[in-house]
Every structure is written in structure tokens, then in C-alpha cells.
């Protein structure tokens, strides 16, 4: 083999190697957890909390999702760890308060607590009929609190509907109407008080029409 042909072979080898390495990178990247972007110390702390949640029989996915959300929003690693720790504590409290509910309801209950509800208020929802699911009630309750509806007003409205046996559509109807009123500029507490009076506790027979969205505003269509 002459010197020239040797150099050519080496060049070809190098190019082939680079190409193959580049093509193999996406395969490797698919297996890489996005949480590796966190500093090792923060990642370790989150792993420990996820492990603690599993050991305590709590869902760990909300913790992982919180960490991913923090990363997506480019939050500081320490802030992400704090958010995950808060989420773990909320899940623990929700478990103590609600008892043996499924993971979805437990996470929704933790969200209500995160939005400002008191554990004693959430405990009202512990005794339940078999097969009943309170996801929608918790979601609407959380939204009211996030929209600055006074805590006691929101709790009263949700418990009233819940004790009356309201179904998901009724809760959703209440939320739709209150949200529309708040968008019109009405005080959040007043909007809820007005709407809860006209909301029946029993299932509504007609589907609820969602509010008309102004141009430039996002909306979610249901299929």
C-alpha cells in the first residue's frame, strides 16, 4: 500500500466513522432522560423524593412531571427541587385526608391543596359513594381558587354541588359560566355566588355551550 492510498483510506475511514457516529447519536439520545439536564445534586434529590413517593405508595409521576415542567420553563434547579418537594408533601397530605383514592383523584386533591384549600376542607370529600369520582369537582375547585375566588366561597359552592350529587357536566357548566362572568370583568367571588344559585345540583339534561372566544384567543375543541 503506497503512502497516498493509505492516506485516502484513513480519510474514508474517518468520514465513515463520523457518519456512523452521528447516525447512532439519535438512537442513544432516545434513551436519555431529560432530567439529566439537571445538576447531579438536584437530580439526586429528585430521585430520592421519587423513591420516597414509591415507598409510601404515592404516585411518583406527578413529581417527575413537575421536574420536567420546571425544566421546560427553564427554572433554576433549586427551584425545581423545591417544587417537587412541595408536590410530594401535598400528595402525602392528600393521601392522609382522602384515604384510598386512585392516583388521579389523589393528584387532583393535591392540586386543590396547592391552590389554597385547607386539608380539613378537602377531608369533606373523603366519604364517598362507591364508584363516584371527584376529579371534575377538584379541577373546578382548583380553578376557582386560582382565579381568586375567596376560599370559603369556592369550598361552599363545590361542597353544595357535591352533596347534591352533581355530575361532571354540572361542575363543568358552573365553571364555564363563572369563567365567562370573570372574563366580562365581574368580581370572581360575586360571579360564583351568582352562578351557584342558578346551578342545579342534579345532572343537567342539556349539553353546555362553551363561551365564545374572541379572535386571537385559544380554545379547546372536544371531539
Amino acid at each position: 500500500m503506497t503512502h497516498g492510498s493509505l492516506q485516502r483510506s484513513v480519510r474514508i475511514l474517518a468520514r465513515v466513522g463520523v457518519l456512523m457516529f452521528a447516525s447512532a447519536l439519535p438512537l442513544v439520545a432516545q434513551d436519555v432522560d431529560p432530567l439529566v439536564k439537571l445538576e447531579t445534586r438536584d437530580r439526586f434529590a429528585i430521585d430520592l423524593m421519587i423513591d420516597s413517593a414509591n415507598m409510601a405508595g404515592l404516585p411518583s409521576n406527578p413529581l417527575r412531571q413537575m421536574a420536567l415542567l420546571g425544566l421546560a420553563k427553564r427554572a433554576d434547579g433549586r427551584k425545581i427541587v423545591e417544587a417537587v418537594r412541595k408536590q410530594l408533601n401535598l400528595l402525602r397530605t392528600a393521601r392522609e385526608v382522602l384515604g384510598a383514592v386512585d392516583d388521579q383523584e389523589l393528584t387532583a386533591g393535591a392540586s386543590v391543596l396547592s391552590a389554597g384549600a385547607k386539608p380539613a376542607q378537602l377531608a369533606t370529600f373523603r366519604p364517598r359513594k362507591k364508584g363516584r369520582n371527584d376529579l371534575q369537582a377538584f379541577v373546578v375547585w382548583t380553578d376557582f381558587l386560582e382565579r381568586k375566588v375567596p376560599n370559603d366561597d369556592a369550598f361552599s359552592a363545590i361542597t353544595k354541588l357535591w352533596q347534591d350529587g352533581a355530575d361532571d357536566a354540572t361542575f363543568y357548566s358552573l365553571w364555564t359560566n363563572v369563567q365567562a362572568d370573570i372574563s366580562q370583568g365581574l368580581n370572581p367571588g360575586t360571579a360564583l355566588q351568582n352562578r351557584i344559585r342558578e346551578t342545579p345540583g342534579r345532572p343537567t339534561p342539556l349539553p353546555v355551550k362553551p363561551p365564545e372566544g374572541a379572535a386571537g384567543e385559544p380554545k379547546l375543541e372536544r371531539l
Partner: protein, 196 residues
């Protein structure tokens, strides 16, 4: 009869070669002194000598390609073995359970966003690992309606839109609790076969 007898020129060369060489008497001593000053070479075994002796390899391009492919393959395998699924070294790390997978969905949800001036709209949420580039919405009309249809598992989902790089909650969906990172998120409830 020899060649030197036949050719006087050859005979003259032979005569010169037969003449005794006269050397410097001190030269032998100088040479021996120089030899003694050299370090004694370490004796190596035959196998070691064969291993360390330089060689020249001839490699065809096809064989070189195979060799490169093999090296890359080995690298990927070693990388996968050294790193666990989370991409972190398995050594010195407590066991962590894998996050539970949500059940496969039979519910299809359409996300719609109206933004006439936007150049890109993405939906991000717990259903796509909060990947801000994974689920783009397509502009479906001239009046700025963006949409995407996704299969979602039953349950409660947190999501938001990213419009031209800016986060935006869905004002037509309930709000999720404040996550402390800034920018509100929305909640989507998906029942089996329906969504609210």
C-alpha cells in the same frame, strides 16, 4: 584457470583485497570502551517482542468500514450498559422506580389555538413530557386557526401552549395550580371516550 588469471584488472583488485589492513593499535581499546559504556539491553520474551514490534497493516476500504461500524456498535453497547435508562451512571445511585405509564388512550382530543399573527404554536403537557418542540399545531386556515389532534389517556392532564416561544394557558380550560415557575397551565380532563 581463474578469472584473475584471465583478466589483469580483476587480478589487481584481488591483490589490493589480499593486502593486510593496518589499523590504529588504540582503536580496539576505544571501541571496547564505547561498547562498555552502552547500557545493557533488557532481554524480552519472544511473545512480548512480537506484540510490541511495529507492523504495517494493509486495510481495504470495505474492511475499514466494517471495522468502523464495529467500533461504533461497541461504543453504543458499552454506553447503554454503563448508563441506565435515565442516562445516569448506575454506580453509587439508589434504586429509583420507573415512572408509571399512563394507560393507552382511546380518546382523541383536538387542541385548537387561534393566533393569526403567530409563526409557530406548540402544545406542551404531561402527555409529551413537557417537550416544547414535540407537538406542533398546524395552521388549518387563513384566519389563524392552529390545531392538532392527539390521543390522550384517560385522566387529568396539565398542558399549555407555546406561541412563538411564549407560554400561554388555555383561557377556555380550567387553570392548574401555580407551579411556581411562572406562566399558568391548564387542565384537561379525559374520560374514557370523552373529554371535559
Amino acid at each position: 584457470m581463474t578469472d584473475s588469471e584471465l583478466h589483469p584488472f580483476v587480478e589487481s583488485i584481488a591483490r589490493e583485497a589480499r593486502r593486510p589492513v593496518v589499523t590504529d593499535p588504540a582503536a580496539r581499546e576505544r571501541i571496547m570502551a564505547a561498547v562498555r559504556a552502552e547500557p545493557v539491553p533488557v532481554r524480552r520474551s519472544g511473545v512480548w517482542s512480537r506484540l510490541v514490534a511495529p507492523r504495517t497493516f494493509a486495510l481495504s476500504p470495505a474492511m475499514g468500514t466494517l471495522l468502523a461500524a464495529g467500533l461504533v456498535g461497541i461504543g453504543v453497547l458499552v454506553g447503554n450498559l454503563a448508563l441506565n435508562r435515565d442516562g445516569q451512571s448506575a454506580a453509587g445511585r439508589p434504586p429509583v422506580a420507573v415512572a408509571p405509564q399512563l394507560p393507552v388512550s382511546d380518546t382523541v382530543v383536538r387542541f385548537v389555538y387561534v393566533a393569526p399573527r403567530a409563526t409557530s404554536v406548540y402544545v406542551v403537557g404531561d402527555f409529551n413530557g413537557w417537550d416544547t418542540t414535540k407537538t406542533p399545531l398546524s395552521r388549518t386556515s387563513q384566519d389563524g386557526v392552529w390545531s392538532v389532534t392527539l390521543p390522550l389517556s384517560a385522566g387529568r392532564h396539565i398542558y399549555a401552549y407555546v406561541v412563538d416561544g411564549s407560554w400561554s394557558a388555555d383561557p377556555h380550560a380550567p387553570l392548574a395550580p401555580d407551579d411556581g415557575f411562572g406562566h399558568a397551565n391548564s387542565v384537561k380532563l379525559v374520560r374514557g371516550g370523552s373529554s371535559l
